[in-house]
Symmetry: C2
Subunit: 68 residues, 2 copies
DNA sequence: CCAAAATGTTCTCCTGAAGATCATTATGCA
DNA sequence: TGCATAATGATCTTCAGGAGAACATTTTGG
């Protein structure tokens, strides 16, 4: 599975969903879905905005978890 | 921007688009779009299938390139 | 205790992946 | 070299689900 670490990254920086939504320009609902890992599809623009805002790499945001 | 390194990864392993499509179960058109970096949205299932098949991490497949 | 902010929830709209098909190009073999 | 087959490119329709917005609920702090 692909795990999204947005909630951890946000937690470490003590960021709120509204903050991230406002600062990145990404819709709050979209941030919420990624935060709760209920999204199954992502816009590359969204990944870019998050990486820029959180100053992180794609690999820190999404992780491939091998599960057999 | 978000850069997709699928073409490089495939090149290193000398893989063809049809191979990747057949082995991952991902539609050939989707592989083609990622290969030519014309995709603007990605299914997490697709990322997972590619990471598993290419034995790589998400960060090796997608890279955040800061461009001001 | 109340007002404002944050989060959760639900709805519609619309984009682009999925899937199929056809055209074109590349490859291998006799 | 010519032909058959495979691979790729291009195009179209269908449809799942994210984007976005609005409303409901919960949380916060003053």
């Amino acid at each position: 599975m692909i795990k999204c670490h947005l909630s951890r990254l946000m937690g470490e920086k003590k960021l709120k969903i509204v903050d991230v939504a406002r600062e990145t320009g990404v819709n709050r609902g979209t941030i919420t879905r990624l935060y709760h890992e209920t999204a199954s599809r992502v816009e590359l623009d969204v990944i870019e905005a998050l990486c820029r805002y959180l100053d992180c790499e794609v690999g820190e945001l999404f992780e491939y978890v091998n599960e057999k």
